[in-house]
């Protein structure tokens, strides 16, 4: 193997008095895919940002092609061929795809922009990524996976020598992930050094040549991927043996509590019906864009709809979130940052927002709010260095726990949880899974919407699968298998509906 192109030597990083990286050694080699894994808050993001020139190390040094270097900023790093793809998209929503791909490095003919050349080049890049989006389409109108592909196209167009990818597959389906992997393999053959992070250990095993595990700002192990198992990785990340990821399922259910009939959201969901029983965990599967989220939002009163929703026999009017919440139905959004939490507000302000009126009228009792936060921090094991901090500065896992606490504040009988563990480390995942089981054991009823098959299979005793806005079928008991769900989700006509528990 040739020498490292980009490396960290004994790098430390402090934010104020808190040191988050304690002497990390890490090297990227040309033609190698290097996975960096760790729980949320382990220091992965900080490490990547130092490598890509967004942050300066507090101690230690960064070397590029063997020589120490201090980046003046990410643009200098980019000039050297070090490109980072952020987990949160860095796209100008109102510009078209090709305008985004060439943003800041527009192709010109004389003084004027060469629109045609840029469009052609973008089309080439997209077709290499097997992405069928129109290069002229406005980014705000394309799907989330397509946005990820645009980000990757952008990086490809920059002739990257080092490519740093922060959880690129979090929003991709398995098929799209496969396409991405083919591109990664192609880049590897071209000699690009790739840093890859993911919470999906199976993917790491599949694509990475080398895997490095970070825990609490310390590099705990670094091995050839071939030499470690997924369990080894998980154990190294968490620092303890992970018991069974999913708690045992409860299969005995009570009366129907939530009955949705012929729900239609024009253009998105068509005539979908489902029934949820007391104490049940019902899964909703299907591809991203199949109408899962829209169905849930329509039931929760967040979208205009046709059809009826009955909770405990009483009908819930359409488009009335507050009324649904008061009746005992709560919805936890998949879009944590866009629709779930106020990122620049404190934990307390976020926690009590849906039920502010119950914390005193006309004046809010701050003491009661603080007490509620104390309970939430304890019950959900939220780790916040400072209670007065902005929620945006919390790690993804802690944000998700806070969002759960906020959703459950109204003590709902029925909870719809959309993507309970997106972008969350395995330790927190396990906590959330056991919490869901505990909620069900308390007699609450839960709907889990997820793109992760193991999650649906591990949690739900019954799974409804959506395809193209319709309910494609329902699986229960032993029929809840990966093949069964995928078959329905892809629109294959299965007889699985008849399978009994």
């Amino acid at each position: 193997m040739s020498g490292a192109i980009l490396a960290l030597e004994g790098v430390t990083k402090s934010f104020g008095p808190i040191e988050v990286l304690h002497g990390v050694d890490f090297a990227l080699h040309p033609g190698e895919v290097h996975a960096l894994i760790g729980e949320n808050g382990a220091g992965k993001s900080t490490t990547m940002k130092i490598l890509a020139g967004y942050l300066d190390p507090t101690g230690g040094r960064v070397t590029f092609e063997g020589k120490p270097i201090t980046f003046t900023g990410s643009d200098q790093a980019e000039d050297l061929g070090i490109v980072m793809i952020h987990q949160e998209f860095n796209l100008a929503e109102h510009l078209s795809i090709d305008q985004n791909v060439f943003l800041g490095r527009e192709l010109k003919r004389g003084l004027l922009l060469d629109h045609k050349a840029m469009r052609v080049r973008t089309a080439e890049l997209l077709s290499r990524l097997e992405c069928r989006a129109d290069p002229g389409a406005q980014v705000s109108r394309i799907s989330v996976p397509d946005k990820q592909m645009v980000e990757i196209a952008k990086a490809l167009s920059r002739k990257a020598r080092v490519l740093i990818m922060d959880e690129p597959t979090a929003v991709l389906t398995e098929k799209e992930t496969e396409i991405l992997f083919r591109q990664i393999e192609r880049l590897r053959e071209e000699g690009v050094a790739i840093l890859y992070t993911s919470h999906k250990l199976g993917e790491v095993k599949r694509i990475a040549d080398r895997v490095t595990v970070l825990r609490d700002g310390v590099m705990v192990r670094s091995d050839r991927t071939a030499d470690v198992t997924e369990d080894d990785m998980a154990t190294a990340m968490v620092g303890r043996e992970l018991s069974d990821l999913f708690p045992p399922k409860i299969t005995a259910h009570g009366e129907p509590i939530l009955v949705a009939e012929s729900i239609t959201v024009p253009g998105i969901v068509h005539d979908a019906s489902l029934t949820l029983h007391k104490g049940e965990v019902l899964g909703i599967g299907g591809l991203v864009g199949s109408g899962r989220t829209e169905l849930a939002e329509a039931i929760a009163g967040l979208r205009p709809r046709q059809g009826t929703v009955r909770l405990n026999g009483a009908e819930l009017p359409a488009g009335q979130v507050a009324q649904a919440m008061r009746a005992g139905l709560a919805y936890l959004t998949e879009d944590r940052k866009g629709a779930g939490l106020l990122l620049e507000k404190t934990l307390r302000e976020n926690l009590t927002l849906p039920l502010l009126e119950t914390f005193g009228r006309p004046l809010i009792d701050h003491k009661r709010e603080e007490a509620a936060l104390d309970r939430a921090i304890a019950d959900f094991a939220i780790k916040a260095p400072d209670r007065g901090m902005a929620v945006g500065d919390l790690s993804g896992g802690n944000q998700q726990k806070l969002l759960l606490a906020k959703t459950l504040l109204s003590d709902p009988q029925v909870v719809i949880i959309d993507e309970p563990t997106r972008g969350i480390d395995i330790g927190t995942k396990q906590q959330i899974y056991s919490l869901i089981a505990q909620l069900a054991a308390e007699g609450r009823s839960i709907i889990v919407i997820s793109s992760e098959m193991p999650e649906l299979i591990g949690l739900a005793s019954r799974v409804v699968v959506m395809h193209a806005g319709r309910i494609a079928g329902e699986l229960s008991g032993d029929a809840v298998t990966e093949r069964g769900i995928v078959g329905l989700a892809m629109g294959m006509d299965g007889s699985s509906k008849d399978h009994a528990a």
Partner: protein
């Protein structure tokens, strides 16, 4: 972890972002004292506070509108229109009822009701018809301004002599030497600060301005709260007019000219974010005082050419905001 973090809960955080407007105000007062001994005279202080009251009362309402992510450019024109309508109806009532306190009460009621209605129209069109607040209020700004010009036939609407004398004390007298406008301004400022910080309405305004979608998903009645901010602002415009009319007893096409910009400037100087999501009423009060003091100081001295008054104001506004943004940029 929980116990460890609890000790950090109430750490006092004094930073320049928070106190920048206060510092600017103190600096201005210092300059004033150095330049003119009359600056701190009771009469001058009363004058400055009383004349700040109109824009101040409006700016309190504007703080809520801006915090909730809105904007209202129509308040200056609205004030002129409300004042015009109030004077006109008081003159008509004097003819039918004869001069007396009932006419004043009727006038006040009309001012408040007109302000409420005007705010409601702005709010309902913004929330239900989904018109961009900037454009809608730019439109109503022109409408109210034309209406008052039309009401006044291009001239000045003046309150009848007898009513003017009777109504006059509302501006000029007060309690314990403190003029009524100052008292009303102070009371409203305190109520506004409490509403912003300690009620569900204030918190909801901040949540909507911060991220409307999150607020909606958290079952906040986004449209209703947003509408309420415009109605509140309209009522406060009405109250400001009730204080304004007794001063000169007249309204014309130039009444309230540029008040909207002064009110918005005061809100921003005070530390409220123009894009919404965070607002504080006490900051707005400080902002209003800063703006009034600049004018007052320039009148009290020959320090700068009067042609440059606007430039001095501009520089102070920018400095006050830069001071906050620089120290606050860390986040």
């Amino acid at each position: 972890m929980t116990t460890a973090t609890n000790t950090l809960t109430r750490r006092p955080r004094v930073n320049l972002t928070v106190i920048a407007p206060l510092v600017a105000l103190l600096v201005l007062i210092g300059i004033g004292m150095a330049l003119n001994p009359n600056f701190l005279s009771w009469a001058n202080i009363t004058n400055v506070l009383a004349r700040s009251a109109f824009i101040g009362i409006i700016a309190i309402g504007m703080t809520f509108v801006i915090t909730a992510g809105g904007l209202d450019l129509s308040v200056g024109s609205m004030a002129a229109f409300v004042a015009g309508l109030m004077i006109l109806s008081m003159n008509m009532l004097t003819e039918s009822m004869g001069p007396g306190l009932p006419v004043i009460f009727a006038g006040i009621a009309i001012a408040l009701a007109t302000g409420l209605a005007a705010g409601f129209i702005n709010g309902i069109l913004i929330t239900r018809a989904g018109i961009e607040a900037f454009i809608l209020t730019l439109g109503t700004m022109g409408i109210y301004r034309s209406l008052v010009t039309w009401l006044a036939d291009g001239g000045t609407l003046s309150l009848g002599f007898e009513m003017r004398e009777m109504y006059r004390p509302v501006y000029y007298s007060g309690v314990a030497g403190i003029a009524w406008p100052i008292i009303v301004f102070a009371v409203l400022a305190i109520l506004g600060e409490i509403t912003m910080r300690h009620t569900a309405f204030g918190r909801h305004c901040a949540a909507i301005g911060s991220n409307e979608k999150v607020a909606r998903y958290s079952s906040v009645a986004v449209l209703r709260v947003r509408l309420a901010t415009y109605v509140l602002l309209g009522v406060l415009v009405g109250i400001a007019v009730v204080m304004y009319v007794p001063r000169l007893g007249s309204a014309s096409a130039t009444t309230g000219l540029l008040w909207e910009l002064e009110a918005i400037a005061a809100v921003i100087i005070g530390g409220t974010l123009l894009k919404g999501g965070f607002g504080r009423v006490w900051g707005t009060v400080v902002g209003v005082l800063i703006l009034s003091l600049i004018g007052n100081l320039l009148n009290l001295t020959d320090f700068v050419s009067p042609y440059l008054n606007g430039a001095i104001q501009g520089v102070v506004i920018i400095l006050a905001v830069v001071l906050q943004r620089n120290t606050g940029a860390a986040r």
